[in-house]
């Protein structure tokens, strides 16, 4: 146990010394790794930063050779122009209306359907569950875009906001996640509430949903972001500027100002602002929802 007096270090001490030397070596390597990681993060964030900074530069600075990391003359000219001379107002409102509509409708439908599949027994229950799984494995937006167009045309909903909203309402992932969470509520709560006289609607709205507000928030946020960002369907379904959502709108009109980098980027930044804000504020919910939708709990 204790060191012998004749100068031979017992093996444990030797190993400890070796480990310490290795650790020091690794500490240096660790530091280098961390610096590399930070460097990579900066590189990754650079394009976004660069685009943002460009929007605050006057056009003559933008086209100057060389890299200026901060505007010499900070200006809001690009934004003012975009806000006053484009239909961005329309686009924002359209995006807001469609995104909110999709979010509200999808979440309510999914909560109801998820609750029914999770808690109630009825004929066709297994069938519905399999159908939902099936729709999860099918490319609804991209595979059916032509037929959605034909259908919306039959309903006379082309170039209208409801027409943009409708095909976005099938969201099997949301139902699956609700079912998963409702399943995990211990049965005792359901039974206690039944004994207390609650009916199924009271169970859903007063027990199951309140116990899962976190997941409702996460799903609502992720649905909102998805609806805000969607490109393909609104691109196909809308052909007049005043009905476009913002993601489509900003790509359709850059010709109007000729080549003006700051303004093009300014309108893009404005388009990204709401979802970026939502992410930065609700970071944890967003990451939680994304992991859930990939099938990973937690």
């Amino acid at each position: 146990m204790s060191g012998t007096a004749d100068g031979f270090d017992p093996p444990a001490v030797k190993i400890a010394a070796r480990r310490r030397a290795r650790l020091r070596h690794w500490d240096l390597v660790a530091l280098v790794f961390t610096l590399i990681t930070l460097g990579l993060a900066i590189v990754w964030a650079f394009p976004l930063y660069w685009a943002l900074v460009t929007t605050f530069k006057p056009e003559y600075e933008v086209v100057r050779p060389g890299i200026q990391l901060w505007p010499e003359h900070f200006t809001l000219e690009a934004y003012i122009h975009v806000l006053t001379r484009t239909k961005i107002g329309f686009w924002y409102i359209n995006s807001l209306i469609t995104s909110v509509a999709v979010t509200v409708i999808v979440v309510i439908m999914a909560a109801g359907a998820g609750y029914a599949i999770s808690q109630l027994s009825f004929p066709g229950r297994r069938l519905f569950w399999w159908m939902i799984l099936a729709s999860f494995m099918v490319p609804i937006q991209h595979g059916l875009v032509v037929n959605h167009f034909i259908l919306m045309n039959q309903f006379h909903l082309i170039n209208t906001l409801p027409g943009v909203v409708l095909p976005q309402l099938v969201a099997p992932v949301t139902v699956m996640i609700y079912k998963q969470f409702f399943d995990s509520v211990p049965k005792d709560f359901r039974e206690a509430a039944l004994v207390d006289g609650a009916n199924e609607f009271q169970l859903l709205f007063r027990i199951y949903l309140p116990m899962n507000w976190g997941i409702t928030t996460a799903l609502a946020i992720i649905t909102f972001i998805g609806a805000w960002n969607i490109f393909l369907w609104p691109f196909v379904a809308v052909n007049t500027e005043d009905k476009m959502n913002i993601t489509v709108g900003i790509t359709q009109v850059h010709d109007a100002f000729g080549v003006s980098y700051a303004r093009d980027l300014a309108v893009a930044m404005l388009a990204a602002l709401p979802v970026a804000l939502v992410y930065l504020i609700f970071q944890r919910r967003v990451t939680q929802a994304i992991m859930l939708s990939a099938g990973i709990k937690g």
Binding site: L38, A41, V62, M109, F122, V146, V236, A272, V275
Partner: protein
């Protein structure tokens, strides 16, 4: 307010008297979803299959032509271009973004506290952006005259500026590059979740056993993270097969069909050439490819869940 709420549910309750009417409640709760599902999913899918066997235009009736559309697809050079481009794009983006995602996740996982949060946000924020914003950012980065990226290109071209997206061989790699920048955060997130599931005790035991860093990665991390790697690969694969937005946007001013991808082909046939039947046939092909891969992905998910 609460009183009317109670009255409403009492009213519903009267419809729904005893336990046996669980069934009625279930249908009431599921009705909206089922209706939307039938209208937006079932019906168009049936229509698509039916349409693919006709020569109908986009809007209107057509005659039954059997497999003619599918033969057309087979012989259409543009269709094979589209398929080739799509798979080329998948090749360029799926594996690199998965591996890079793992590397970044390993790097980020070593950090702690707010530094980790900030770094993670730096990688993840692009994922939140709409595709058109990503397009604008990188259009600007690669701009022929004033783009920052030219500084990295000119050393290789004797000072010549290159219009990256108009240079055919560079187009797909560049779009893949941008796509990787855009979507990496998603992969990183999934990998970090997977890495966190590996108990640190395993690494401590390996340390004691004398295993070096690389050995630890090869013999511990890689095998244990494999389920997540497989999951990310399949998710990315299925996602990129549907590629349209970025390719369309970056090629918008370039009048060429050489960079066409599958969804683009479908749109062209359907909306430009007014060939509804043909577009439906192409859609069906895409549909089937993705369904097969999705089923495989689902089995993978289930196997993971069984662990």
């Amino acid at each position: 307010m609460a009183a009317t709420g109670v009255q409403l549910s009492r009213g519903l309750e009267l419809i729904v008297k005893s336990r046996r009417n669980e069934i009625a409640v279930a249908y009431i709760l599921m009705a909206p979803f089922i209706i939307v599902y039938a209208v937006i999913f079932i019906w168009p899918t049936i229509q698509m299959v039916e349409l693919s066997f006709t020569d109908a235009p986009l809007i209107g009736e057509g005659a039954w032509v059997g497999l003619k559309n599918f033969w057309r697809l087979q012989s259409d050079r543009l269709f094979s271009t589209a398929i080739w481009n799509t798979f080329y794009f998948v090749l360029l983006s799926v594996i690199p973004s998965t591996l890079l995602g793992l590397v970044v996740a390993l790097a980020v996982n070593r950090l702690k506290g707010w530094v980790q949060s900030v770094v993670l946000a730096a990688f993840f924020l692009p994922y939140i952006l709409p595709v058109s914003v990503v397009f604008r950012i990188w259009s600007w980065m690669f701009d022929k005259d004033f783009g920052v990226a030219q500084h990295a290109i000119t050393p290789f071209t004797d000072g010549q500026h290159v219009s990256v997206f108009r240079t055919l061989p560079l187009f797909m790699p560049a779009v893949a590059f941008v796509t990787i920048w855009w979507l990496l955060g998603f992969n990183v997130l999934l990998f970090i979740a997977g890495l966190r599931n590996i108990s640190s005790e395993i690494y401590e035991a390996a340390d004691l056993d004398g295993a070096g860093r690389w050995t630890q990665f090869r013999r511990i991390t890689w095998p244990l993270i494999w389920p997540v790697t497989a999951l990310v690969l399949t998710i990315q694969l299925i996602l990129q097969l549907k590629i349209f937005d970025q390719v369309y946007l970056f090629a918008a001013n370039v009048r060429t069909d050489a960079t066409m991808v599958m969804v683009q082909y479908i749109l062209k046939q359907g909306f430009q050439m007014n060939k509804g039947g043909l577009a439906a046939a192409a859609s069906l092909v895409l549909f089937l490819v993705i369904v097969v891969l999705s089923v495989l992905q689902f089995q993978l998910l289930r196997a993971r869940g069984e662990r």
